[in-house]
């Protein structure tokens, strides 16, 4: 498949507007401006585009809700708070191909009737901030942003807001809180952001990758777009692969490419021919899979059928040299650190899980610890305010589900069976 989102990124000047145009950029926007906003939303619906942030929510549905709300002004937010461990799929777009995002946002803004957009950028992406700001300035200069886009009187203004490094701000309502200047904590839903979002106005929050699909989608039309990859959730998808493969990196492939193919075909197989032990297919919050479960199409519809989720498409590959108790412990350290503290189960439970895992990892586990872990995780799962706590609980549950003997051995022997 020809790359769409990461087109031209080998070109060192790919972030420049002229290079982007030379490679065929800024074609979707003029076409979109020739359409009615409603027609754009219909195209997106026909295309079957789903949000690439992790939940896979149908984009056209979200847009329809927001555009149906009579309140004005409306806002379009780009969620560029790419913080899920293992995930670096948006980063190449932000750093190498920013204009595809800007063009996508201008199209989306027009479709939604939103005149203002913000890119909520991850605090740890300072490079992307400079690239984006330069690209936005260029887009203003050439009339792709501003008060009269394409000479058609369409207004869309765009600004970058850099986060302060909180994972929770990837959750859309926490992102909105943070953007408004408050502490990043999720809000009560409903009302949903499409009705009461930033500054209490209708707001659409879409992921970087999602929005970057728009220029191409409009250019070729929804019908043609829907033919790419999985019929249930079509389009190109960026998979970012890390860990023990020969060629870790970013791969733009048709949605639904098999996990097995990604590892053994695109990434050149396991590093140094070692044996695969476990794969986390979609970022740390998605359930870990053992080697015998990896023959599954990587998309939003099929992954749940195979016991995991597509998530952000961040594939973390681990070979036999990895202690999974340690990975689980490290993951919980992350969740504990990133828990916002709003709700009880997540605030208290993630820390408790981490403490128990720490004991096991350090050879101080006792009989009953595994049951305790499962019980505590069970008390978190489904009881938290937002999915962060669910993620933490399901990591523990799935690691134990697939690799229980390793935990038992840690407790029994007081040491690691992999690293001694």
């Amino acid at each position: 498949m020809e790359r769409v989102l990461l087109k031209n990124i080998e070109n060192p000047e790919s972030a420049d507007i002229n290079e982007y145009k030379k490679a065929g950029g800024y074609k979707g926007l003029p076409k979109a401006l020739g359409m009615q906003p409603r027609e754009i939303i219909d195209e997106v619906k026909k295309a079957g585009l789903r949000g690439r942030g992790g939940a896979g929510f149908p984009v056209a549905m979200k847009w329809t809700f927001a555009s149906a709300d009579p309140k004005f002004p409306k806002y379009l937010l780009c969620n560029a708070d790419e913080g899920e461990p293992g995930t670096f799929k948006d980063r190449p777009i932000l750093e190498k191909n920013p204009h595809i995002l800007i063009e996508g946002m201008a199209i989306s803004g027009y479709a939604l009737g939103a005149e203002y957009g913000y890119v909520y950028l991850r605090g740890e992406y300072p490079g992307a901030k400079d690239v984006l700001n330069r690209a936005i300035a260029q887009a203003y200069e050439q009339g792709f942003l501003g008060d009269n886009i394409g000479g058609k009187g369409v207004r869309f203004h765009l600004a970058v807001h850099q986060g302060a490094g909180a994972y929770i701000c990837g959750e859309e309502t926490a992102l909105i809180e943070s953007l408004e200047g408050d502490k990043g904590q999720p809000r009560i839903k409903p009302p949903f952001p499409v009705n009461v979002g930033v500054f209490s106005k209708p707001t659409v929050v879409n992921n970087v990758e999602t929005l970057s699909n728009l220029p191409y989608l409009i250019e070729i039309g929804g019908e043609a777009y829907s033919k790419i990859g999985s019929p249930d959730c079509p389009g190109p998808k960026i998979y970012c692969v890390s860990g023990h493969v020969e060629r870790p990196g970013v791969y733009e492939l048709p949605m639904g490419t098999s996990l097995k193919d990604i590892i053994y075909d695109h990434c050149g197989g396991m590093k140094a021919g070692r044996k695969l032990k476990a794969v986390i297919p979609g970022g740390i919050s998605t359930p870990v899979l053992p080697p015998d479960k990896i023959d599954c199409p990587m998309d939003f519809v099929n992954m749940p059928k195979h016991g995991s989720m597509l998530g952000s498409g961040a594939v973390i590959v681990m070979d036999e040299s990895v202690c999974l108790v340690k990975v689980c412990f490290r993951a919980l350290k992350f969740f504990e650190h990133e828990s916002c503290g709003k709700c009880t189960p997540c605030r208290e439970g993630t820390g408790w899980l981490r403490k128990i895992l720490g004991r096991i990892e350090h050879g101080e586990g006792v009989d009953g610890d595994i049951e305790l872990l499962l019980s505590v995780a069970g008390n978190i799962l489904g009881k938290t305010f937002c999915p962060l706590g669910d993620g933490a609980a399901s990591v523990v549950q799935n690691f134990i589900k697939h690799f229980r003997p390793e935990f038992e051995e840690h407790i029994r022997a007081g040491k690691c069976m992999v690293n001694g």
Partner: protein, 860 residues
């Protein structure tokens, strides 16, 4: 109609509410921690999770709105399990120090664990350790106990509007901290203490001195501080007040209090309270007996009356005493002494202003419901910061702003600074010109409403030019236009008037102008009142020209009515106002003043003059709970019972009559009892057995109180006229004396600060309030500080025509460049000692805004 089924019970609802509210309405209890009826929804604690059919996840009952046909279960095995789990999470880091924690016994977490929780802990690790924060004199924070429900933060931000505390850090490190660090830099309302479900934020006043179940007696009564009249519950152990707390659902303050109300009660148990009568012998006040003191007073009063006539005697009543005390006081003065020389410190503003406004709009015009402010679409504030003078009323103004109303102020109101979209800050002593400008502009914009020809006739000549305002008042044209537009567009505006307006030169004319604005835009007026029973004292006839129920003494038919009621002849000439009393005393015409519960030496301007007058008397009686500056000059001092030690009623600024109830016992007599003893000794028998009997008489005598009794008052909504005669309408004549202050550029003018934490005599005997705000400071603007090379804490000598004080300065951005603010709250450092005054010819209130003051740095 929405129908939902909760635990098999069908519930019909008029409108969509939360599942929690729906369940409560049907008597189904769902446990909660972060939820609180006064606060914004949060959904954080997760205790109220319930099962809803067709919803895959459990839902928080406190956030989920009901929908027609919803089927909800709140008590299932799964839910019991969830609650146990949540409580276990809360307990893993919560210390099990219940035996030591003051909250034990009324701790919501303790109660819930007892009901739903596990019996055995599974947490094997170290609990979080956080030392107790004891840096603050009044509030103690114990963050080990904090369950991060954020009720305190939501209270502070969303209801109190102080925004002084916040959740600091994230996740398991979350805790509550004042922005200022260890010590609170806040309004000390203590409403965070009220809502904390555990022992994380508590009051230090009664620390470790009781267990909640030992607070044997609880008395619902009225706060003794300001004219709002908040309902408070006084909790007592062993006859000592341990706590004063608000109560949810009460009509005036619904679960909220201010610093004075909550932390100011300690004056009651103060060791400096007077215990026995004192009689001056050989120049010294010596302890004596009640018999001796009462006999002495009765004989000296009779003697003076015989020798110099009844009008050589005057009485000063008390806005801190009950209606019953004040009623008996004026009756004593009118019947036993035979004079109308009765007045009070209400004369310093409230009395005259209320009379003036009522004359224009009819009686009761200033008695509007306080909570109504929150529903106004615009609130115009002038003459003082309501958030410090009447804090609970101030909260209603903040609530108005939060609901989208516009707050318009003339002058800078610090407590409203985050809520004031429109502020006009005229240069010193030019308010009158600005008000004239506003009236003219509104008349042009809206035209005369046509319903009050007398008032409109008075507006005819008024033609202030907007173009002159920048030059005269320093107001910019565009600010003025926005102000006028907002005011003109308001549909339900309210006007809040403070004392500074009344006490300025041309105050009565200013009141007329504000009344005119109010008339043009069809608003309601609120008159701020600094004392708990300022309204009631006037209702009771403690005024030189009015009988109880505001009946003018000069109308023979009214006088007849009271003569019949009291079975005696009554003086027909109006008596002296409090300021005239001081003049007459200085001149020697007045021989005796009887002071009940007031401290004129401190609470009237021009201290030296007041002292001179009182010194010149041949007999001064002071009846009080402390040996005040005035009591120290007295010939006889009588110890009275305080607010907490007697029954009676207060009437708040809304005209709401509320019961004051005895909460603690103390040897001694109520003010009314002392007066009736003296009266009986003078041959005019008064033998009331209790306050209720006096109130019975009041209701027979005052046409406003007819048919009222304690039982009716207890029910809550006793606002007069209860079933009595309608209030008087407006009159045909409005008396105006045009006058305005003058500004000498470059001079500093003394202004009275009315601080949140003090109220004068009582508050300085309450250690908690003194700890919060321990000393008098002169507040100056940064520009003044720069001009005089002063910085925070520098000692200055502040001198005026009438005296000089040495005190530290505080640089405060809220102060006007031409003003020096000084409170009148600290012994020996009161602003009034530096002020002289002239009397407004119409309201008879003192004009205090022309006092120039010089600051000089004192080098030590």
């Amino acid at each position: 109609m929405i129908t939902v089924t909760i635990n098999g019970k069908e519930i019909k609802l008029e409108k969509a509410v939360t599942v929690l509210e729906a369940a409560r309405s049907a008597g189904i209890k769902i446990p909660t921690l972060c939820w609180h009826e006064q606060l914004e929804k949060y959904g954080g604690c997760r205790l109220c999770l319930v099962e809803v059919e067709k919803m895959p996840r459990l839902q928080t009952a406190c956030t989920l709105m009901v929908a027609d046909g919803m089927i909800i279960r709140t008590e299932t095995d799964t839910i019991a399990e969830v609650r146990r789990g949540v409580l276990e999470f809360l307990l893993i880091n919560h210390p099990l120090d219940c035996p030591y924690c003051d909250k034990a016994g009324e701790c919501e977490l303790q109660d819930l664990v007892e009901k739903y929780g596990l019996t055995k802990g599974r947490f094997r690790e170290q609990k979080r350790k956080v030392p107790e924060a004891l840096e603050d004199p009044v509030l103690v924070r114990n963050m080990e106990r904090c369950i991060v429900c954020t009720r305190c933060v939501r209270m502070c931000e969303g209801v109190q509007g102080a925004s002084a505390i916040s959740v600091i850090n994230r996740g398991g490190h979350s805790h509550i901290e004042p922005f200022s660090g260890g010590r609170f830099d806040c309004e000390y309302c203590g409403n965070c203490v009220s809502v904390c479900p555990v022992g994380a934020i508590m009051s230090r006043l009664h620390r470790h001195s009781y267990r909640p179940w030992q607070l044997g007696s609880e008395t619902k009564t009225v706060c003794p501080y300001c004219g709002v009249g908040c309902t408070v519950v006084v909790q007592v152990r062993d006859d000592i007040i341990k706590r004063v707390v608000p109560k949810l659902g009460t009509v005036v303050n619904n679960g909220l209090l201010c610093s004075r109300g909550r932390f100011g009660y300690e004056f009651v148990g103060n060791k400096e309270r007077l215990t026995t009568p004192l009689i001056r012998k050989n120049g010294l006040l010596e302890p004596s007996t009640w018999e001796e003191a009462i006999r002495l007073i009765a004989s000296r009063l009779s003697e003076i009356k015989d020798k110099h006539g009844s009008n050589a005697i005057a009485g000063i009543a008390s806005p801190r005493c009950t209606n019953e005390d004040n009623y008996v006081f004026q009756k004593f003065m009118r019947v036993a002494v035979g004079t109308n020389n009765i007045d009070s410190t209400a004369r310093t503003g409230f009395a005259g202003a209320q009379g003036f406004i009522e004359n224009i709009f009819g009686q009761g015009a200033t008695g509007n419901i306080i909570s109504g402010l929150a529903n106004s679409d615009a609130v115009f504030v002038i003459g003082g910061d309501p958030t410090t003078i009447n804090p609970i009323l101030g909260l209603q103004i903040r609530a108005c702003s939060r609901r989208g109303g516009n707050i318009l102020t003339v002058g800078h109101m610090k407590g409203l600074r985050y809520y004031t979209p429109l502020e006009l800050r005229p240069s010193v002593n030019t308010e009158i010109a600005l008000l004239e400008g506003i009236v003219s502009a509104l008349m042009k914009k809206k035209g005369p409403p046509g319903s009050h020809p007398v008032l409109e006739a008075r507006l005819k000549d008024l033609n202030a030019q907007e173009a002159d305002l920048p030059r005269i008042c320093g107001i910019q044209g565009k600010d003025f236009s926005r102000f006028i537009d907002t005011l003109a567009e308001a549909a339900t505006p309210s006007f809040v008037i403070g004392k500074d307006m009344i006490q300025s030169k041309g105050g009565s004319y200013g009141l007329f102008l504000v009344s005119a604005i109010n008339y043009i835009v069809n608003g309601r007026i609120y008159l701020l009142s600094e004392r708990a029973n300022e309204q009631g004292l006037l209702d009771m006839g403690c005024a030189p020209d009015l009988f109880p129920g505001y009946r003018p003494i000069t109308y023979p038919e009214f006088r007849k009515r009271y003569e019949n009621a009291w079975k005696t002849g009554l003086p027909d000439k109006p008596g002296l106002t409090i300021f005239e009393m001081m003049e007459a005393a200085k001149a020697g015409a007045l021989k005796c003043i009887y002071v009940m519960g007031e401290n004129p030496v401190f609470n009237l301007p021009h201290t030296k003059d007041v002292e001179a007058g009182l010194k010149n008397l041949s007999f001064l009686v002071v009846q009080d709970i402390f040996l005040t500056e005035t009591a120290k000059m007295a010939d006889v001092v009588l110890p009275a019972l305080s607010w907490a030690e007697k029954d009676g009623t207060f009437t708040n600024m809304e005209r709401r009559i509320q019961l004051v109830k005895k909460a603690v016992h103390r040897e001694g007599m109520e003010d009314w009892k002392i007066l009736s003893e003296i009266s009986s000794n003078m041959g005019v028998r008064m033998n009331y057995s209790d306050a209720e009997e006096i109130f019975g008489e009041i209701c027979r005598v005052s046409p406003l109180h007819r048919d009222l009794n304690y039982e009716e008052i207890e029910k809550g909504d006793a606002i007069y006229p209860y079933k009595g005669e309608p209030l008087r309408g407006s009159t045909d004549e409005i008396h105006i004396e045009k006058s305005a202050g003058r500004e000498e550029r470059g001079k500093l003018y003394l202004r009275v600060e009315r601080p949140l934490f003090h109220s004068g005599t009582l508050s300085r005997k309450a250690p908690a309030l003194v700890n919060i705000c321990p000393e008098a400071v002169a507040r100056i603007s940064p520009a003044t500080a720069a001009a005089l090379s002063l910085k925070d804490g520098d000692i200055v000598r502040a001198s005026s025509k009438t005296g000089a004080l040495e005190l530290p300065v505080a640089v405060d951005e809220a102060i006007d460049d031409s003003a020096v603010m000084l409170s009148n709250n600290f012994q020996g450092k009161g602003a009034f000692s530096l002020m002289e005054y002239e009397i407004d010819p119409v309201t008879k209130a003192p004009c205090l805004d022309s006092n120039q003051i010089i600051l000089e740095k004192v080098n030590r």
